[in-house]
Protein backbone atom coordinates (compact mmCIF):
# COMPACT_ATOMS: atom_id res chain seq x y z
CA UNK A 1 0.00 0.00 0.00
CA UNK A 2 1.18 3.52 -0.71
CA UNK A 3 2.28 5.56 2.19
CA UNK A 4 -0.67 7.84 2.66
CA UNK A 5 -0.54 10.49 5.34
CA UNK A 6 -2.60 10.55 8.47
CA UNK A 7 -6.32 11.11 8.11
CA UNK A 8 -6.70 10.43 4.36
CA UNK A 9 -6.10 6.72 4.70
CA UNK A 10 -8.75 4.54 3.17
CA UNK A 11 -10.73 7.51 1.87
CA UNK A 12 -9.37 7.29 -1.65
CA UNK A 13 -10.29 3.66 -1.66
CA UNK A 14 -13.82 4.56 -0.53
CA UNK A 15 -14.20 7.27 -3.15
CA UNK A 16 -12.89 4.95 -5.84
CA UNK A 17 -15.34 2.24 -4.79
CA UNK A 18 -18.18 4.71 -4.87
CA UNK A 19 -17.20 6.00 -8.30
CA UNK A 20 -16.98 2.46 -9.61
CA UNK A 21 -20.45 1.70 -8.26
CA UNK A 22 -21.88 4.77 -9.94
CA UNK A 23 -20.21 3.80 -13.22
CA UNK A 24 -21.61 0.28 -13.06
CA UNK A 25 -25.10 1.51 -12.27
CA UNK A 26 -25.08 4.02 -15.10
CA UNK A 27 -23.79 1.34 -17.48
CA UNK A 28 -26.67 -0.85 -16.43
CA UNK A 29 -29.07 2.00 -17.17
CA UNK A 30 -27.54 2.65 -20.58
CA UNK A 31 -27.63 -1.01 -21.60
CA UNK A 32 -31.21 -1.34 -20.38
CA UNK A 33 -32.42 1.72 -22.22
CA UNK A 34 -30.76 0.44 -25.41
CA UNK A 35 -32.64 -2.85 -25.04
CA UNK A 36 -35.87 -1.01 -24.35
CA UNK A 37 -35.40 1.24 -27.37
CA UNK A 38 -34.79 -1.77 -29.59
CA UNK A 39 -37.88 -3.38 -28.11
CA UNK A 40 -40.04 -0.34 -28.80
CA UNK A 41 -38.67 0.03 -32.30
CA UNK A 42 -39.36 -3.57 -33.22
CA UNK A 43 -42.89 -3.62 -31.83
CA UNK A 44 -45.77 -3.67 -34.26
CA UNK A 45 -48.28 -0.89 -34.17
CA UNK A 46 -49.31 -0.33 -30.59
CA UNK A 47 -52.90 0.90 -30.81
CA UNK A 48 -54.17 -2.66 -31.32
CA UNK A 49 -55.83 -2.15 -34.69
CA UNK A 50 -54.55 -5.54 -35.84
CA UNK A 51 -56.77 -7.13 -33.20
CA UNK A 52 -59.77 -5.20 -34.51
CA UNK A 53 -59.04 -6.25 -38.07
CA UNK A 54 -58.40 -9.91 -37.33
CA UNK A 55 -61.61 -10.05 -35.30
CA UNK A 56 -63.37 -8.39 -38.22
CA UNK A 57 -62.15 -11.15 -40.54
CA UNK A 58 -63.30 -13.79 -38.03
CA UNK A 59 -66.72 -12.16 -37.74
CA UNK A 60 -67.02 -12.01 -41.51
CA UNK A 61 -66.25 -15.73 -41.83
CA UNK A 62 -68.66 -16.67 -39.06
CA UNK A 63 -71.54 -14.51 -40.32
CA UNK A 64 -70.91 -16.02 -43.76
CA UNK A 65 -71.32 -19.50 -42.36
CA UNK A 66 -74.55 -18.39 -40.73
CA UNK A 67 -75.86 -17.12 -44.07
CA UNK A 68 -74.86 -20.36 -45.82
CA UNK A 69 -76.58 -22.43 -43.13
CA UNK A 70 -79.76 -20.34 -43.34
CA UNK A 71 -79.76 -20.62 -47.15
CA UNK A 72 -79.54 -24.40 -46.82
CA UNK A 73 -81.97 -24.96 -43.96
CA UNK A 74 -84.41 -22.07 -43.69
CA UNK A 75 -85.30 -21.28 -47.27
CA UNK A 76 -89.08 -21.73 -47.28
CA UNK A 77 -89.71 -17.98 -47.19
CA UNK A 78 -87.67 -14.77 -47.26
CA UNK A 79 -88.92 -13.90 -43.76
CA UNK A 80 -87.76 -17.21 -42.35
CA UNK A 81 -84.37 -16.73 -44.03
CA UNK A 82 -83.86 -13.31 -42.50
CA UNK A 83 -85.10 -14.46 -39.08
CA UNK A 84 -82.72 -17.44 -39.05
CA UNK A 85 -79.79 -15.27 -40.14
CA UNK A 86 -80.59 -12.63 -37.52
CA UNK A 87 -80.85 -15.29 -34.82
CA UNK A 88 -77.47 -16.63 -35.87
CA UNK A 89 -75.89 -13.19 -35.83
CA UNK A 90 -77.34 -12.52 -32.35
CA UNK A 91 -75.87 -15.78 -31.03
CA UNK A 92 -72.53 -14.97 -32.66
CA UNK A 93 -72.50 -11.44 -31.28
CA UNK A 94 -73.37 -12.56 -27.74
CA UNK A 95 -70.86 -15.41 -27.59
CA UNK A 96 -68.04 -13.62 -29.40
CA UNK A 97 -68.66 -10.54 -27.27
CA UNK A 98 -68.34 -12.46 -24.02
CA UNK A 99 -65.19 -14.18 -25.19
CA UNK A 100 -63.60 -10.97 -26.41
CA UNK A 101 -64.35 -9.44 -23.00
CA UNK A 102 -61.83 -11.90 -21.54
CA UNK A 103 -59.09 -9.98 -23.33
CA UNK A 104 -60.47 -6.55 -22.54
CA UNK A 105 -62.30 -5.88 -25.75
CA UNK A 106 -65.91 -5.15 -26.60
CA UNK A 107 -67.11 -6.77 -29.82
CA UNK A 108 -70.64 -6.30 -31.09
CA UNK A 109 -72.25 -7.43 -34.33
CA UNK A 110 -75.73 -6.35 -35.37
CA UNK A 111 -77.77 -7.13 -38.45
CA UNK A 112 -78.38 -4.21 -40.81
CA UNK A 113 -79.80 -5.31 -44.16
CA UNK A 114 -79.68 -7.99 -46.84
CA UNK A 115 -79.97 -8.37 -50.60
CA UNK A 116 -82.02 -11.18 -52.09
CA UNK A 117 -80.80 -13.99 -54.27
CA UNK A 118 -81.54 -17.49 -55.41
CA UNK A 119 -79.60 -20.60 -54.51
CA UNK A 120 -79.39 -23.23 -57.22
CA UNK A 121 -78.11 -26.58 -56.07
CA UNK A 122 -78.02 -30.26 -56.84
CA UNK A 123 -77.53 -32.60 -53.91
CA UNK A 124 -78.47 -36.07 -55.16
CA UNK A 125 -75.11 -36.86 -56.77
CA UNK A 126 -76.51 -37.51 -60.27
CA UNK A 127 -75.30 -36.12 -63.60
CA UNK A 128 -75.50 -32.34 -63.79
CA UNK A 129 -78.25 -32.58 -66.42
CA UNK A 130 -81.80 -31.44 -65.74
CA UNK A 131 -84.11 -33.97 -64.15
CA UNK A 132 -85.36 -34.81 -67.65
CA UNK A 133 -81.82 -35.60 -68.87
CA UNK A 134 -81.30 -32.45 -70.95
CA UNK A 135 -77.54 -31.87 -71.26
CA UNK A 136 -77.47 -28.31 -72.64
CA UNK A 137 -79.63 -25.93 -70.71
CA UNK A 138 -79.93 -22.51 -69.13
CA UNK A 139 -79.35 -22.78 -65.40
CA UNK A 140 -80.41 -19.24 -64.68
CA UNK A 141 -81.08 -16.13 -66.74
CA UNK A 142 -81.29 -12.43 -65.85
CA UNK A 143 -78.59 -12.26 -63.17
CA UNK A 144 -77.50 -8.73 -62.27
CA UNK A 145 -74.05 -7.79 -61.05
CA UNK A 146 -73.59 -6.08 -57.71
CA UNK A 147 -71.18 -3.21 -57.17
CA UNK A 148 -67.65 -4.55 -57.15
CA UNK A 149 -68.62 -8.17 -57.62
CA UNK A 150 -70.00 -10.66 -60.09
CA UNK A 151 -73.48 -11.31 -58.77
CA UNK A 152 -72.70 -15.02 -58.54
CA UNK A 153 -70.97 -16.39 -55.50
CA UNK A 154 -70.01 -19.72 -53.93
CA UNK A 155 -70.30 -21.63 -57.22
CA UNK A 156 -68.81 -24.98 -56.33
CA UNK A 157 -68.93 -28.31 -58.10
CA UNK A 158 -68.17 -31.50 -56.18
CA UNK A 159 -67.68 -33.93 -59.05
CA UNK A 160 -67.54 -37.61 -58.22
CA UNK A 161 -66.81 -38.35 -61.87
CA UNK A 162 -65.73 -36.38 -64.94
CA UNK A 163 -65.98 -38.48 -68.10
CA UNK A 164 -64.87 -35.94 -70.72
CA UNK A 165 -61.17 -36.23 -71.58
CA UNK A 166 -60.79 -33.55 -74.24
CA UNK A 167 -61.76 -29.99 -74.94
CA UNK A 168 -64.37 -30.89 -77.56
CA UNK A 169 -66.62 -32.96 -75.33
CA UNK A 170 -65.90 -31.06 -72.10
CA UNK A 171 -68.52 -29.94 -69.64
CA UNK A 172 -68.92 -26.22 -70.21
CA UNK A 173 -70.18 -23.47 -67.92
CA UNK A 174 -71.06 -20.50 -70.07
CA UNK A 175 -71.72 -17.03 -68.71
CA UNK A 176 -73.05 -14.63 -71.33
CA UNK A 177 -74.72 -11.25 -71.49
CA UNK A 178 -78.47 -11.69 -71.88
CA UNK A 179 -79.41 -11.36 -75.54
CA UNK A 180 -75.85 -11.58 -76.96
CA UNK A 181 -75.41 -13.76 -80.05
CA UNK A 182 -72.82 -16.44 -80.79
CA UNK A 183 -70.04 -16.37 -78.23
CA UNK A 184 -69.92 -12.59 -77.92
CA UNK A 185 -69.69 -11.09 -74.46
CA UNK A 186 -69.22 -14.42 -72.82
CA UNK A 187 -66.93 -16.16 -70.37
CA UNK A 188 -66.80 -19.95 -70.63
CA UNK A 189 -65.11 -22.56 -68.47
CA UNK A 190 -64.53 -26.04 -69.88
CA UNK A 191 -63.81 -28.83 -67.46
CA UNK A 192 -62.30 -32.15 -68.49
CA UNK A 193 -59.85 -34.71 -67.28
CA UNK A 194 -56.36 -35.31 -68.64
CA UNK A 195 -55.52 -38.16 -66.26
CA UNK A 196 -57.17 -40.28 -63.62
CA UNK A 197 -56.45 -37.70 -60.93
CA UNK A 198 -55.88 -34.56 -63.01
CA UNK A 199 -58.54 -32.06 -63.95
CA UNK A 200 -57.99 -29.52 -66.71
CA UNK A 201 -59.84 -26.22 -66.84
CA UNK A 202 -59.82 -24.01 -69.90
CA UNK A 203 -61.44 -20.60 -69.77
CA UNK A 204 -62.34 -18.51 -72.81
CA UNK A 205 -63.35 -14.90 -72.61
CA UNK A 206 -64.90 -13.36 -75.71
CA UNK A 207 -65.57 -9.72 -76.20
CA UNK A 208 -66.53 -8.34 -79.59
CA UNK A 209 -62.97 -8.26 -80.92
CA UNK A 210 -60.85 -10.96 -79.32
CA UNK A 211 -60.79 -14.20 -77.36
CA UNK A 212 -58.60 -14.70 -74.31
CA UNK A 213 -57.84 -18.37 -73.60
CA UNK A 214 -56.29 -19.57 -70.35
CA UNK A 215 -55.57 -23.06 -69.10
CA UNK A 216 -54.75 -24.68 -65.82
CA UNK A 217 -54.39 -28.21 -64.50
CA UNK A 218 -54.61 -29.48 -60.96
CA UNK A 219 -53.84 -32.99 -59.76
CA UNK A 220 -55.83 -33.86 -56.70
CA UNK A 221 -54.34 -35.49 -53.62
CA UNK A 222 -54.57 -39.25 -53.83
CA UNK A 223 -57.31 -40.88 -51.85
CA UNK A 224 -59.93 -38.23 -52.52
CA UNK A 225 -63.12 -39.43 -54.14
CA UNK A 226 -64.30 -36.10 -55.54
CA UNK A 227 -62.96 -33.14 -57.48
CA UNK A 228 -64.00 -29.99 -55.64
CA UNK A 229 -64.02 -27.25 -58.25
CA UNK A 230 -64.67 -23.78 -56.87
CA UNK A 231 -65.42 -21.72 -59.98
CA UNK A 232 -65.86 -18.39 -58.21
CA UNK A 233 -63.09 -18.99 -55.68
CA UNK A 234 -60.66 -20.10 -58.40
CA UNK A 235 -59.49 -23.31 -56.76
CA UNK A 236 -59.56 -27.03 -57.49
CA UNK A 237 -59.35 -29.17 -54.34
CA UNK A 238 -58.09 -26.13 -52.49
CA UNK A 239 -55.25 -25.46 -54.92
CA UNK A 240 -55.34 -22.26 -56.94
CA UNK A 241 -56.11 -22.59 -60.64
CA UNK A 242 -54.80 -19.62 -62.68
CA UNK A 243 -57.39 -19.81 -65.38
CA UNK A 244 -60.14 -19.21 -62.84
CA UNK A 245 -58.28 -16.36 -61.16
CA UNK A 246 -57.49 -12.99 -62.58
CA UNK A 247 -56.14 -12.33 -66.06
CA UNK A 248 -52.36 -11.86 -66.56
CA UNK A 249 -52.94 -8.11 -66.74
CA UNK A 250 -54.39 -8.25 -63.23
CA UNK A 251 -57.88 -7.35 -64.37
CA UNK A 252 -60.65 -9.69 -63.40
CA UNK A 253 -62.41 -10.67 -66.58
CA UNK A 254 -63.90 -13.78 -65.13
CA UNK A 255 -67.42 -14.86 -64.60
CA UNK A 256 -69.85 -11.92 -64.69
CA UNK A 257 -66.98 -9.50 -65.21
CA UNK A 258 -66.07 -11.34 -68.43
CA UNK A 259 -69.39 -10.53 -70.03
CA UNK A 260 -68.99 -6.73 -70.02
CA UNK A 261 -72.11 -6.42 -67.92
CA UNK A 262 -71.66 -3.35 -65.76
CA UNK A 263 -72.74 -3.43 -62.13
CA UNK A 264 -75.68 -1.30 -61.16
CA UNK A 265 -77.18 -1.08 -64.64
CA UNK A 266 -80.12 -2.96 -66.09
CA UNK A 267 -77.83 -5.34 -68.03
CA UNK A 268 -77.96 -8.94 -66.95
CA UNK A 269 -76.20 -12.19 -67.79
CA UNK A 270 -77.24 -15.84 -68.15
CA UNK A 271 -75.50 -18.98 -66.88
CA UNK A 272 -75.76 -22.08 -69.08
CA UNK A 273 -74.44 -25.62 -68.90
CA UNK A 274 -73.39 -27.63 -71.96
CA UNK A 275 -72.47 -31.35 -72.04
CA UNK A 276 -73.76 -31.60 -68.47
CA UNK A 277 -73.88 -35.41 -68.74
CA UNK A 278 -70.05 -35.44 -68.61
CA UNK A 279 -69.96 -34.56 -64.93
CA UNK A 280 -71.59 -36.50 -62.09
CA UNK A 281 -71.88 -35.03 -58.63
CA UNK A 282 -73.30 -32.03 -56.84
CA UNK A 283 -73.07 -28.31 -57.27
CA UNK A 284 -74.37 -25.19 -55.64
CA UNK A 285 -74.33 -21.47 -56.35
CA UNK A 286 -76.04 -18.33 -55.17
CA UNK A 287 -76.97 -15.62 -57.68
CA UNK A 288 -78.10 -12.07 -57.06
CA UNK A 289 -81.66 -11.08 -57.93
CA UNK A 290 -82.09 -7.33 -58.28
CA UNK A 291 -85.20 -6.24 -56.36
CA UNK A 292 -88.36 -6.07 -58.51
CA UNK A 293 -86.84 -8.30 -61.20
CA UNK A 294 -87.27 -12.03 -61.69
CA UNK A 295 -84.73 -14.64 -62.70
CA UNK A 296 -85.32 -17.10 -65.53
CA UNK A 297 -85.28 -20.48 -63.83
CA UNK A 298 -87.51 -22.24 -66.34
CA UNK A 299 -85.16 -25.22 -66.89
CA UNK A 300 -84.66 -25.90 -63.19
CA UNK A 301 -86.85 -28.54 -61.59
CA UNK A 302 -86.11 -30.87 -58.72
CA UNK A 303 -82.52 -31.80 -59.59
CA UNK A 304 -80.98 -29.28 -59.73
CA UNK A 305 -83.41 -27.24 -57.72
CA UNK A 306 -83.69 -23.58 -56.83
CA UNK A 307 -84.60 -21.97 -53.53
CA UNK A 308 -84.89 -18.41 -52.33
CA UNK A 309 -81.69 -17.27 -50.62
CA UNK A 310 -79.80 -14.31 -49.25
CA UNK A 311 -77.12 -13.02 -51.61
CA UNK A 312 -75.41 -10.88 -49.02
CA UNK A 313 -75.99 -9.43 -45.57
CA UNK A 314 -74.67 -6.19 -44.13
CA UNK A 315 -73.82 -6.15 -40.44
CA UNK A 316 -72.60 -3.37 -38.16
CA UNK A 317 -69.34 -4.39 -36.53
CA UNK A 318 -68.11 -2.58 -33.42
CA UNK A 319 -64.78 -3.17 -31.71
CA UNK A 320 -63.79 -1.20 -28.63
CA UNK A 321 -60.63 -1.23 -26.57
CA UNK A 322 -59.26 1.39 -24.21
CA UNK A 323 -57.19 2.83 -27.06
CA UNK A 324 -59.36 2.23 -30.06
CA UNK A 325 -62.91 2.52 -31.27
CA UNK A 326 -63.61 0.82 -34.59
CA UNK A 327 -67.05 0.70 -36.09
CA UNK A 328 -67.90 -0.24 -39.64
CA UNK A 329 -70.56 -1.76 -41.85
CA UNK A 330 -69.46 -5.12 -43.13
CA UNK A 331 -70.95 -6.65 -46.26
CA UNK A 332 -70.80 -10.41 -45.98
CA UNK A 333 -71.19 -12.59 -49.06
CA UNK A 334 -69.45 -15.94 -48.45
CA UNK A 335 -67.62 -17.31 -51.46
CA UNK A 336 -67.72 -14.06 -53.39
CA UNK A 337 -64.44 -13.36 -55.15
CA UNK A 338 -62.77 -9.96 -55.03
CA UNK A 339 -63.16 -8.11 -58.28
Amino acid sequence: MADLSGDERGQILLVAAFALAVIFVSMALIVNSAIFTENLASRGETAGSDGALSMRATVETNVGEGIAAANRNNNSSPTELVDATRADIRTLSRQTGRQAARSGRVVDVTYQSNRPGVRIAQTDGSALTTGGGVTDYRVVGGVSRVDGANGTRAFEIAASDITATDNASAFEVSVQRTGATGNENSWRARIYRTGAETVHIRTLRNNSTSTLVEDCEVTRDSGLSTFRIDLTGGTVDGEPCDALGTAPSGANVHFGAGTDVTPGGTDTYDIEFANADQVTGNFSMVVYRRPSTTLDLSSIGTSPTSTTALYDVTVRYTHLTTDLRYETDLRVAPGEPDV
Binding site: L13, A21, T58, A84
Partner: protein, 194 residues
Amino acid sequence: MRAQAHTLEATVAGLLMLSSLIFALQMTAVTPLSASTSSQHIENQQQATGEGVLAAAADQGVLKPAVLYWNNSSARHHDVGVQRYYTSGPPDNRFGEMLDRAFNDNGIAYNVYFRFQNDNGEAITRRYVYSGVPTDNAVTATHTVMLNDDDPLYGADGTPTTDRLGDENVTYPMPDTGANSYNTVRVEVVAWRI
Protein backbone atom coordinates in the same frame (compact mmCIF):
# COMPACT_ATOMS: atom_id res chain seq x y z
CA MET B 1 -5.24 1.16 17.87
CA ARG B 2 -4.13 2.81 14.67
CA ALA B 3 -3.54 -0.53 12.97
CA GLN B 4 -6.96 -1.70 13.98
CA ALA B 5 -8.56 1.41 12.50
CA HIS B 6 -6.70 0.80 9.24
CA THR B 7 -7.81 -2.79 9.12
CA LEU B 8 -11.40 -1.77 9.77
CA GLU B 9 -11.26 0.88 7.03
CA ALA B 10 -9.84 -1.60 4.56
CA THR B 11 -12.53 -4.13 5.41
CA VAL B 12 -15.32 -1.59 5.02
CA ALA B 13 -13.84 -0.44 1.71
CA GLY B 14 -13.57 -4.02 0.56
CA LEU B 15 -17.18 -4.65 1.49
CA LEU B 16 -18.25 -1.53 -0.41
CA MET B 17 -16.30 -2.63 -3.48
CA LEU B 18 -17.82 -6.06 -3.31
CA SER B 19 -21.42 -4.90 -2.83
CA SER B 20 -21.14 -2.36 -5.64
CA LEU B 21 -19.80 -5.12 -7.88
CA ILE B 22 -22.68 -7.43 -6.93
CA PHE B 23 -25.17 -4.61 -7.53
CA ALA B 24 -23.66 -3.82 -10.91
CA LEU B 25 -23.66 -7.47 -11.87
CA GLN B 26 -27.45 -7.51 -11.55
CA MET B 27 -27.61 -6.09 -15.05
CA THR B 28 -26.01 -9.16 -16.52
CA ALA B 29 -28.38 -11.52 -14.70
CA VAL B 30 -30.86 -11.44 -17.61
CA THR B 31 -31.17 -15.07 -18.64
CA PRO B 32 -33.37 -16.11 -21.54
CA LEU B 33 -36.06 -17.04 -19.04
CA SER B 34 -36.06 -13.97 -16.79
CA ALA B 35 -38.65 -11.27 -17.33
CA SER B 36 -37.22 -8.12 -18.85
CA THR B 37 -37.70 -5.89 -21.83
CA SER B 38 -35.61 -8.20 -23.97
CA SER B 39 -37.67 -11.27 -23.12
CA GLN B 40 -40.71 -9.11 -23.96
CA HIS B 41 -39.32 -9.06 -27.46
CA ILE B 42 -39.20 -12.85 -27.54
CA GLU B 43 -42.72 -13.00 -26.16
CA ASN B 44 -43.91 -10.74 -28.97
CA GLN B 45 -42.38 -13.12 -31.46
CA GLN B 46 -43.97 -16.14 -29.80
CA GLN B 47 -47.34 -14.48 -29.81
CA ALA B 48 -46.98 -13.57 -33.47
CA THR B 49 -46.07 -17.19 -34.18
CA GLY B 50 -49.16 -18.36 -32.31
CA GLU B 51 -51.43 -15.94 -34.14
CA GLY B 52 -49.80 -16.97 -37.41
CA VAL B 53 -50.35 -20.68 -36.81
CA LEU B 54 -54.00 -20.09 -35.92
CA ALA B 55 -54.61 -17.77 -38.87
CA ALA B 56 -52.90 -20.15 -41.31
CA ALA B 57 -54.86 -23.11 -39.94
CA ALA B 58 -58.13 -21.19 -40.25
CA ASP B 59 -57.25 -20.04 -43.76
CA GLN B 60 -56.49 -23.58 -44.90
CA GLY B 61 -59.70 -24.82 -43.33
CA VAL B 62 -57.97 -27.17 -40.88
CA LEU B 63 -58.76 -25.36 -37.62
CA LYS B 64 -62.41 -26.40 -37.45
CA PRO B 65 -61.61 -30.04 -38.32
CA ALA B 66 -59.10 -29.96 -35.45
CA VAL B 67 -61.77 -28.66 -33.06
CA LEU B 68 -64.14 -31.36 -34.29
CA TYR B 69 -61.48 -34.11 -34.16
CA TRP B 70 -63.75 -36.26 -32.02
CA ASN B 71 -64.43 -39.96 -31.65
CA ASN B 72 -68.19 -40.10 -31.25
CA SER B 73 -68.38 -43.65 -29.90
CA SER B 74 -65.71 -43.32 -27.19
CA ALA B 75 -66.79 -39.70 -26.48
CA ARG B 76 -63.30 -38.23 -26.51
CA HIS B 77 -60.80 -36.84 -28.97
CA HIS B 78 -59.07 -39.40 -31.17
CA ASP B 79 -56.16 -41.23 -29.48
CA VAL B 80 -56.05 -39.11 -26.33
CA GLY B 81 -55.73 -41.88 -23.76
CA VAL B 82 -57.21 -41.60 -20.28
CA GLN B 83 -56.46 -37.90 -19.86
CA ARG B 84 -59.12 -36.75 -22.37
CA TYR B 85 -56.68 -34.19 -23.74
CA TYR B 86 -53.39 -34.50 -25.57
CA THR B 87 -50.42 -34.56 -23.21
CA SER B 88 -47.62 -36.09 -25.24
CA GLY B 89 -47.38 -33.88 -28.27
CA PRO B 90 -50.08 -32.44 -30.51
CA PRO B 91 -52.94 -34.45 -32.06
CA ASP B 92 -52.34 -36.30 -35.31
CA ASN B 93 -54.10 -33.82 -37.57
CA ARG B 94 -53.04 -30.93 -39.80
CA PHE B 95 -53.39 -28.32 -37.04
CA GLY B 96 -51.27 -30.56 -34.80
CA GLU B 97 -48.60 -30.73 -37.49
CA MET B 98 -48.58 -26.97 -37.79
CA LEU B 99 -48.20 -26.53 -34.03
CA ASP B 100 -45.44 -29.08 -34.04
CA ARG B 101 -43.50 -27.33 -36.76
CA ALA B 102 -43.95 -23.88 -35.25
CA PHE B 103 -43.13 -24.65 -31.62
CA ASN B 104 -41.80 -28.09 -30.80
CA ASP B 105 -38.46 -27.74 -32.61
CA ASN B 106 -37.77 -24.38 -31.01
CA GLY B 107 -37.94 -25.37 -27.36
CA ILE B 108 -41.30 -23.78 -26.81
CA ALA B 109 -44.01 -25.48 -24.80
CA TYR B 110 -47.66 -24.74 -25.46
CA ASN B 111 -51.15 -25.51 -24.29
CA VAL B 112 -54.25 -25.32 -26.45
CA TYR B 113 -57.57 -24.57 -24.79
CA PHE B 114 -61.10 -24.37 -26.12
CA ARG B 115 -63.23 -21.74 -24.45
CA PHE B 116 -66.97 -21.75 -25.05
CA GLN B 117 -70.21 -21.03 -23.23
CA ASN B 118 -73.10 -23.13 -22.05
CA ASP B 119 -76.78 -22.21 -22.36
CA ASN B 120 -76.58 -19.93 -19.33
CA GLY B 121 -73.69 -18.01 -20.83
CA GLU B 122 -71.18 -19.39 -18.33
CA ALA B 123 -67.67 -19.68 -19.69
CA ILE B 124 -66.26 -23.20 -19.86
CA THR B 125 -62.67 -24.09 -20.64
CA ARG B 126 -61.56 -27.44 -22.01
CA ARG B 127 -57.99 -28.51 -22.45
CA TYR B 128 -57.05 -29.78 -25.89
CA VAL B 129 -53.26 -29.97 -25.73
CA TYR B 130 -51.72 -29.67 -22.27
CA SER B 131 -47.99 -29.53 -21.51
CA GLY B 132 -48.20 -28.23 -17.94
CA VAL B 133 -48.69 -24.99 -16.05
CA PRO B 134 -47.46 -22.03 -18.13
CA THR B 135 -44.71 -19.79 -16.74
CA ASP B 136 -45.19 -16.12 -15.94
CA ASN B 137 -43.85 -15.24 -19.37
CA ALA B 138 -46.40 -17.24 -21.35
CA VAL B 139 -48.19 -15.54 -24.22
CA THR B 140 -51.67 -16.15 -25.57
CA ALA B 141 -52.92 -16.16 -29.15
CA THR B 142 -56.59 -16.72 -29.96
CA HIS B 143 -58.89 -17.39 -32.88
CA THR B 144 -62.67 -17.67 -32.77
CA VAL B 145 -64.39 -20.48 -34.64
CA MET B 146 -68.14 -20.79 -35.05
CA LEU B 147 -69.54 -24.30 -35.15
CA ASN B 148 -72.76 -25.04 -37.01
CA ASP B 149 -75.28 -27.84 -36.60
CA ASP B 150 -74.36 -29.02 -40.12
CA ASP B 151 -70.66 -29.40 -39.33
CA PRO B 152 -69.47 -33.02 -39.34
CA LEU B 153 -67.22 -34.62 -36.76
CA TYR B 154 -63.87 -35.67 -38.19
CA GLY B 155 -62.40 -39.16 -38.16
CA ALA B 156 -58.95 -40.14 -36.93
CA ASP B 157 -57.62 -39.80 -40.49
CA GLY B 158 -58.94 -36.24 -40.75
CA THR B 159 -61.83 -36.95 -43.11
CA PRO B 160 -65.39 -35.93 -42.23
CA THR B 161 -67.66 -38.62 -40.80
CA THR B 162 -71.42 -38.90 -41.21
CA ASP B 163 -72.02 -37.69 -37.64
CA ARG B 164 -73.08 -34.07 -37.55
CA LEU B 165 -73.06 -31.77 -34.55
CA GLY B 166 -76.82 -31.25 -34.72
CA ASP B 167 -77.56 -34.99 -34.61
CA GLU B 168 -79.28 -36.53 -31.59
CA ASN B 169 -76.65 -39.08 -30.58
CA VAL B 170 -73.58 -36.88 -30.83
CA THR B 171 -71.34 -36.94 -27.75
CA TYR B 172 -69.45 -33.74 -28.51
CA PRO B 173 -68.81 -31.97 -25.17
CA MET B 174 -70.02 -28.49 -26.10
CA PRO B 175 -73.70 -27.59 -25.74
CA ASP B 176 -75.86 -26.55 -28.69
CA THR B 177 -76.67 -22.92 -27.92
CA GLY B 178 -78.15 -21.61 -31.15
CA ALA B 179 -80.59 -22.42 -33.95
CA ASN B 180 -78.40 -23.13 -36.98
CA SER B 181 -75.27 -22.27 -35.09
CA TYR B 182 -73.98 -24.71 -32.52
CA ASN B 183 -71.49 -22.82 -30.40
CA THR B 184 -68.69 -20.29 -30.67
CA VAL B 185 -65.30 -21.63 -29.68
CA ARG B 186 -62.29 -19.53 -28.86
CA VAL B 187 -59.20 -21.56 -29.65
CA GLU B 188 -56.44 -20.35 -27.38
CA VAL B 189 -52.77 -21.18 -27.82
CA VAL B 190 -50.65 -20.42 -24.73
CA ALA B 191 -46.91 -20.65 -25.45
CA TRP B 192 -43.83 -20.22 -23.30
CA ARG B 193 -40.10 -20.93 -23.44
CA ILE B 194 -38.70 -23.90 -21.62
